[in-house]
């Protein structure tokens, strides 16, 4: 990671800590919870209409993960741990196949740039690892700070703040990248799509958010006193999520290859189109980030007491 990326990551973590530990400030992504003394920030918006196949399967496998975790606690013999890892992996697949999980970001990044055949997979697994790893880190940090078992509301508070802040950062990065493409195109007539810098930084920064599914698995394993099993389950889950996020990358990668193969004789057109696609993809990331961070921004400007 470049120094610039490292600085952005540290800044995101610092901002999260500041928002989470301002006295009297709390966030309730959870409609059940209430505390009249606290002000609230909004979680990301929801664009979903109902219960689809992936949501049903996600819940089915999530319940299986919980069942196997219980069987590990009950010290059942046989390959229970192996089954736990397997269902965690499958849960990760269905969890990421549903909405969210930065598939938009990875898709947009690979529509906009030349990439080697393995890079969509690298980006997908990097994104899922950071996403799941952040969940493990957040729960463990809260556990160490509070010296007690972490509550759901605390972990959801951190989730809402980190979602808001990373989406704002992503929006700012998108603006910077759009300007960068335009400047480079005007200066040299070449698209910056040839260059790889920024790919993994954007993936890492956009994924620096605890995965709610992984967080809940971590909490369940902590309550059961099975921390290491929980961490192993989250890592298996992240591998499942990585497969799906990579597929989003490969969808864009193959679409782009097929499209540019037709234009291989027209080099000038390819350069211009490449730049247009790059700008469109960053505009999509910008709109996506603004949509997702807007409720958080509104509630930061005007915090409300419920």
């Amino acid at each position: 990671m470049s120094m610039k990326s490292k600085f952005i990551c540290y800044a995101l973590i610092a901002l999260t800590l500041i928002f989470c530990f301002i006295p009297g400030t709390g966030i309730f992504a959870n409609p059940f919870l209430s505390d009249n003394k606290k002000t609230t920030y909004a979680p990301p918006p929801v664009y979903g209409g109902g219960i689809d196949y992936f949501i049903r399967m996600q819940f089915e496998y999530r319940e299986k993960v919980a069942q196997y975790l219980r069987r590990i606690k009950d010290a059942e013999p046989g390959g229970v741990f192996l089954m736990f890892i397997t269902v965690s992996f499958l849960y990760g697949l269905f969890h990421a196949a549903g909405p969210g999980h930065r598939k938009t970001v990875v898709f947009s990044l690979f529509i906009s740039r030349h990439a080697k055949w393995y890079e969509p997979a690298s980006a997908g697994f990097l994104s899922s690892s950071v996403h799941a790893g952040t969940s493990i880190a957040v729960i463990l940090i809260l556990f160490l700070i509070q010296e007690t078992v972490v509550s759901l509301s605390d972990s959801e508070n951190v989730y809402a703040v980190m979602e808001g802040i990373t989406f704002i950062a992503l929006a700012l990065i998108s603006v910077f990248l759009i300007i960068n493409v335009i400047v480079k195109l005007n200066k040299s007539g070449a698209s910056s799509a040839e260059k790889k810098d920024g790919l993994y930084s954007v993936v890492i920064i956009s994924s620096l958010v605890p995965c709610p599914g992984a967080t809940m698995l971590m909490l369940l394993s902590l309550y059961a006193g099975l921390l290491w099993s929980g961490i192993a389950g989250v890592l298996a889950m992240s591998m499942g999520m990585g497969v799906v996020i990579s597929l989003a990358g490969y969808l864009a990668y193959t679409g782009r290859i097929g499209f540019f193969f037709r234009l291989k004789e027209k080099e000038h057109a390819m350069i211009k189109l490449s730049a247009v696609l790059e700008i469109v993809s960053f505009v999509i990331i910008l709109i996506f980030s603004l949509l997702m961070s807007w409720p958080f921004i509104k509630s930061v400007i005007s915090p409300v007491a419920l």
Partner: protein, 213 residues
């Protein structure tokens, strides 16, 4: 070439938009018990069973002595800290008679218990105005999409004091959607009666209760 470019842009936008959805974190399985006195429905009891993860978290937060039972103080804390905020969401219950949809403003007889490491809630909705007697609909639906609501087995129990019992069926509602604002701030608990720009629509499955002629 223009056609290729247009195709690529449309593909780009549609696919990226299709990824832009959120998913629920909690599974609620509901059983609704309707209390009938003849042709009048006096009210209903809503029972929710939560999934293992949410159950474990709430039990950890509110069953302080870890004895598997919510005593009076714990139940009171759970009511105030983990239930009554749902009034801002109409307790996730949508009642509909013809085209008029309402959410209950208050509920009573809140209970919570644990069974096989799962958390259960139940509460009672009184139909004071007797409107919901014959041919009405009830849906359990969280418009904040924090929860995915499913109906249990059985989904419905009907208590009839006298006379013929009504029947029910779970139907997919495509005519009377629920509107919500995905970009609303934390205090946006508005119940939208009509669609307007910026609102999303959802179609919750409804329990249709009626008497056979």
């Amino acid at each position: 070439m223009k056609r290729n470019l247009t195709f690529m842009l449309v593909l780009c936008i549609i696919l990226s938009a299709s990824f832009l959805h959120s998913h629920p974190h909690v599974k609620i399985t509901s059983t609704i018990t309707f209390d009938f006195n003849g042709t009048t429905c006096e009210g209903c009891r809503v029972q929710w069973m939560f999934d293992d993860y949410f159950s474990a978290s709430m039990i950890n937060d509110f069953d302080k002595n870890r004895d598997g039972v919510f005593d009076e103080k714990e139940l009171n804390n759970l009511y105030n800290g983990g239930f009554i905020n749902l009034k801002n969401y109409g307790f996730f219950v949508f009642l509909r008679k013809n085209s008029v949809r309402t959410n209950p403003e208050k509920v009573s007889e809140f209970r919570a218990w644990q069974k096989e490491r799962k958390l259960f809630y139940s509460f009672y909705i009184t139909f004071y105005n007797k409107t919901y007697s014959d041919d009405f609909y009830l849906a359990v639906f969280d418009r904040s999409f924090y929860c995915a609501a499913f109906y249990g087995a059985p989904a419905v129990i009907i208590n009839q004091k006298q006379g013929v019992s009504p029947v029910y069926e779970i139907t997919s509602n495509k005519k009377y959607p629920v509107f919500y604002n995905p970009a609303g701030a934390a205090d946006d608990m508005t119940v939208y009666k009509k669609w307007k720009p910026g609102l999303e629509t959802a179609y919750p499955d409804e329990i249709h209760v009626y008497f056979r002629n």
